[in-house]
Symmetry: C2
Subunit: 439 residues, 2 copies
């Protein structure tokens, strides 16, 4: 993409009502624009990042055996009356009447819709296990939306729903998602900690939140250091096999958010030098809830014995739009955003310091073409701007590599490359520079 | 994808309220499920096709220089009050009040939002031309939604908006979209005819609808046969150059839908053997509307002389979800859907006629692996079903190729391939079969 033709409206100052750093940087980098309280338009740069995160989530869901569907944003109130949640949900549910005065709502989640789909088609244990997910815009009418996309009203969510014949099978489904979630966060360059979450009236230990570490995070997290350093299970585990050991290996180590923290237990279970206290952001929540929806909504399958039983369900959510903000909270510096390569809007930027000067243009175009061919989705800064302004805006938007082409270097047969994350610079012949970036 | 693990709930009979063939086939093929009147969930097969169409549209928009953004589904009523359309829009607009009693609406289109974004950031002719598009769910509260996704209430639309300094530049933007639209339809395997559309009070000749030919189409179209046979301009035209000749070459040939048809002119402009009358479906609409929104919403840029002027705008819509139905209307037979390769949910299906028989399984797995490696996104029918049931459901869902592996063929070292579109069958060694499918 040539920056002279692009639409990347960077701002020198963030509006004063942006309180947290990710919100400030997303506005300054021209990633989003607020359309109403908690409702954002995604400008080109923001949309690119959003789509990359979405794609990582999709690939890891697919790998774990989940199947993608797409549920509509608007849902019938009647389904929620059937589950009993319509009246309970309160003011966060955006209730809508259509022209025929029928009650609709903008889905804040989709347990009812997916259970309705399931019961319409799936009648036998032979069709289980099933895990259906979708990545769709949702709406929660927060009383006080804030922190940009971190607590918006219209937000993009990946929600998966598992259906199993019994609790043991449901636990296997849960374990697959537990591992898949860790893989997602690892690919996004995040350190994620699974912490036990409150399961409310359902009980049981099958609910976890995933907290990623960020100094500017909203909540406190307490964890055994080994858990933080253990890393994700990785893509090549046996997804059809027994994942319980991988899950246990992690869940037996202490980890808790403020609400669930028990200092005495922490001190018993983790030696002092292993006790880590940090700030974090919740970016995912998985839980098993058994027959909570299948029973009132009558979602049953026939077992091997021919007798019908209610399916056991779980649900698994990742805030995709929230992750854009969370990654920035976890990865930024004074100059702006520092994108992990996996979600960077552009893999590299070619900075032409003297657009219009033929020899410089030629090298810049050559570099740009080579990076395109290598699949790095480069940005070419061909704007007629001061070098300082170019560097400042590219640092701000966080492109992982800059390849800088100026008249002096061109005369000497070299270019400069800069790694955004470290600030490290090297002066190299173009070939070597391209090799370093595409390595 | 292994069919035994997939979720493709095909039905023997379509519900009786599905009146048109695409709606019937989408229900029978397990592509969609109705959630409310005119509101559908997309089941895995339907979603795959929807995403492929979306991606074709995206690629052609990008190629033509448009830049993708994403506007939220909900919009502020105040913006529509500013343009003057809030009260005019009538009952098709879904009006919503949030918990603070603020007026929102579910966007049926986005001229107001995009104009607001434009005016916030773009102040100079130097930043023009700009064409910003998005692919987002929209809502029109049709009084009587019907025909499945062809006239739904919640629908996926690609809407692009061009901004130019004057009418001449706006016409160039229009021409780029005119050519891009023809390229989109060609890639989707459709024969599209651009017909002049009513521009209403704005006047001028700069509005076209694109009608694709389908015997079961909703409207009549009259056209010079040469136009139908001319084909699309193709991707390699000079998008920055003068596209007027390519547009003129097409628009000078007679083409009209029923509303605009003038039989006398038709007979004057097309010799009898060139007069084609056919059924068709409207799948796109582009128009130039000058200062219609920029003036009331005060979207101005400074020209080269420093004086500010209102930008000239156009908008360009493609019904992405509607296209799923339209393609089926244009391409089906007695047995079901016949997908063009470009949007087929799976590139090929490997039909294992004897799952569990080791020699047959081995060949089926080998074929499946080879097709995966070749990027054909194959489906493996490993279900424990009668061959007839397998063929019927694969014909119904319209996978372009079937590669059939049975015990007799395996013993003889051959498999059978069948091309869905023609029914043509060949018995070949596996290598040759794979070569034919991946050619």
């Amino acid at each position: 993409m040539r920056l002279s033709r692009y639409f990347m409206p960077t701002l020198r100052e963030a509006p004063s009502d942006a309180q947290i750093v990710s919100h400030q940087l997303m506005l300054r980098a021209g990633m989003i624009r607020q359309e109403a309280a908690g409702i954002y338009a995604w400008l080109p740069l923001g949309l690119k990042v959003l789509k990359k995160i979405e794609q990582v989530v999709r690939e890891e869901m697919d790998r774990a055996g989940a199947i993608e569907v797409l549920m509509p944003t608007l849902q019938l109130a009647d389904l929620w009356r059937e589950s009993g949640r319509y009246d309970d949900y309160g003011e966060e549910m955006l209730r809508i009447k259509d022209r025929h005065e029928r009650d609709l709502l903008y889905g804040p989640t989709a347990e009812e819709v997916i259970t309705d789909i399931f019961r319409a088609y799936i009648k036998s244990y032979k069709d289980l296990p099933k895990n259906l997910y979708n990545i769709q815009w949702k709406f929660r009418d927060e009383r006080r939306p804030r922190f940009g996309v971190m607590r918006g009203r219209e937000f993009l969510m990946k929600d998966a729903y598992s259906f199993d014949i019994d609790e043991a099978a449901a636990r296997r489904a849960y374990n697959r998602m537990f591992c898949a979630y860790l893989n997602v966060y690892a690919r996004l360059g995040l350190k994620a900690i699974p912490v036990r979450a409150d399961t409310g009236p359902i009980g049981g230990d099958l609910s976890h939140e995933f907290i990623i570490l960020a100094d500017t995070g909203e909540s406190q997290v307490f964890a055994h250091r080994d858990l933080v350093e253990m890393g994700a299970p990785g893509p090549d585990i046996d997804w059809d096999g027994d994942l319980e050991p991988l899950v246990q290996q992690r869940t037996r180590l202490y980890a808790a958010s403020d609400e669930m923290h028990d200092q005495a237990r922490f001190e018993t279970e983790a030696p002092e030098d292993k006790r880590m206290t940090a700030r974090g952001i919740e970016v995912g929540h998985i839980f098993y809830f058994g027959e909570k929806y299948s029973r009132p909504m009558n979602a049953k399958v026939a077992g091997p014995d021919g007798a019908e039983r209610f399916v056991h369900m779980g649900s698994y959510g990742v805030g995709v739009s929230r992750l854009v903000g969370a990654i920035i909270e976890a990865s930024h510096d004074e100059a702006g955003i520092v994108w992990p390569d996996s979600v960077a809007p552009f893999g590299a930027a070619v900075v032409n310091l003297r657009p219009g000067e033929a020899a410089v243009d030629a090298v810049a175009e050559q570099a740009y073409g080579a990076l395109q061919a290598a699949g790095k989705e480069p940005l070419l800064d061909d704007r007629d701007e001061r070098p300082g302004a170019k560097f400042a805006s590219l640092d701000l938007v966080g492109v992982p590599w800059q390849l800088i082409v100026g008249p002096k270097g061109v005369a000497e047969g070299v270019v400069e490359i800069k790694r955004r994350a470290t600030g490290e610079r090297q002066t190299l012949p173009l070939d070597a520079a391209l090799k370093a970036i595409t390595a």
